[in-house]
Structure formats: C-alpha cells, structure tokens
C-alpha cells in the first residue's frame, strides 16, 4: 500500500500494520506520519503496529513521541508495538529514552510478524 511517495510506506499483514519509515524521523516527518498511521489504525482491524527503520539514518525526540502515541492507540485495542531493523544511531535514542521497556525490538519485519503471531490471542 503506497500512501506517500518519499517518507513512508505501509503494509498490512492480517491485523499488523507495518510502517516503513524511509527518511529522517524528525518533527517535520512526524506531522505527516502520525496522520497516515492513525487513519489506517482507525480504519479498523489493526491490532499491532511495527515500525521499520531500515532506511532511517536520523531520529530525534519527535520520533519517540510518534511511536509512544501509536503504542498507546494499539495498547487500548489489546495490541503490541515493535521496532525492526534499528541501526546504531536510532538505537542510542531508543535506549536513552527507555522505549524498549514497552516496545519490542526485532531484527527484521518477518521476525516481528512471527513474534506477534506467536503471542496473538485467540
């Protein structure tokens, strides 16, 4: 599913929304990402969310706000949130912010989908 050309693209696997962030994740990028992600979550049937960071070379505290906000949304639906393909630069920000206390980290999107499936209720 292609919703915006440069900054992001999305995939839905059953009840998992995968957000591929493909640019620096700062306040400017977050303004657009938030709106698109929420529209998809609210469209229904989304329980879990995965953010992929393969193409993200930079992130600041705005990115933390984006992930926390989406985490809260899926948490209310009984879902979970994960991040994948996290490079060194982004990893330092996640570690420092304490994000890993609530969000799972997987090497790849496939691993994350598998992880969420294995613990999926019902």
């Amino acid at each position: 599913m292609q919703m915006e050309k440069e900054r992001v693209h999305y995939e839905v696997h059953q009840n998992c929304l995968v957000v591929y962030v493909t640019d620096d994740l700062d306040h400017h990028a977050v303004l657009q990402l938030r709106e698109y992600s929420d529209r998809l979550i609210e469209a229904g049937n989304i329980r879990h969310i995965i953010f992929d960071f393969t193409d993200v070379g930079f992130m600041d505290s705005s990115g933390i706000g984006l992930i926390m906000g989406r985490y809260k949304k899926v948490m209310f639906l009984g879902g979970r949130a994960a991040v994948t393909n996290v490079g060194d630069v982004v990893n330092r920000i996640f570690t420092l912010s304490g994000l890993y206390q609530i969000i799972e980290r997987y090497d790849t999107v496939a691993d994350a989908l598998q992880g969420m499936k294995s613990r999926r209720e019902g």
Partner: protein
C-alpha cells in the same frame, strides 16, 4: 558560521545538516556527528513549536570551532520559557496533545558536554551548547 532560518518544520533537517557539514573539519565519528545533529534538531524544533507556537519567526544558529570544541547557539525571539528548570525535567512537556515526548532538553544534555538555557518570557530563548570532538579516539 551563522545561519538564520524561518521557523518552519521543513528547516529542521536543513539546520542540522548545515551544522553537521560545518563540523566535519574536526573529523568527528559518526556517533559524534549524530549527537550534534540530534542536539541541534531538538533546539530548533523547540524554537518552532514552543518559542513561536507554530507562527512565523526567525531562528539564529551560530556555530564556532575552538580547538577541538564545537560551540553552538540556537536563539529565537519567541514567547520564552517561564520556568526553565521545569522545562528541562525529562518527560515534562507543555504540549502532550502534540505528542511531544518531553525528552528534548534531556537529549541535548546527554549528547553535548555543556548545555545552558537562558530565557525571558516575551523576549525569547537562547540555547548554548558545547561539545569536544575526538574525545573517544584518545582513549
């Protein structure tokens, strides 16, 4: 080096990229470069969101190199910060509805050696940061 930008979010990446280019002469590690970029991004974003509340204004970014130290100043002429101590507390934010994480100053503090914030309500805010480049290579 002095850079004056409009307070629009498109300029956040421009500002940190210019500062990163400016300090390459100090031959920073990728980690040091990321640290400085993050600190600049946080300061500029604060000016745009909190200083000017999304309205139009100018942000001045001054960069200097002294030996192996980079000295960065980010100045805005916005609303200012009534309680700096409170503003600098990790996780404190005046804009939870905008999903601000409250980590901006904490990141600047963590990634730079020195952080000083001066502000006067109604006049603006000045963020002063310093970082020695190449410390890690000496170890």
């Amino acid at each position: 080096m002095k850079l004056v930008i409009e307070s629009v979010s498109e300029n956040e990446s421009f500002a940190r990229t210019v500062v990163a280019a400016y300090i390459t002469r100090l031959d920073p590690t990728l980690e040091e470069l990321a640290d400085v970029k993050t600190a600049v991004s946080e300061a500029v974003t604060n000016s745009i969101i909190h200083g000017y509340l999304g309205k139009s204004g100018e942000i001045e970014i001054t960069c200097e190199i002294d030996g192996r130290e980079v000295i960065i100043e980010v100045v805005d002429f916005g609303v200012g910060i009534p309680d700096i101590e409170r503003a600098m507390e990790p996780l404190y934010t005046t804009k939870p509805e905008w999903e601000r994480s409250g980590m901006g100053f904490a990141f600047m503090e963590a990634f730079m050696d020195v952080l000083e914030v001066q502000s006067e309500p109604g006049k603006g805010t000045r963020v002063f940061m310093r970082k020695e480049i190449g410390k890690e290579q000496d170890k």
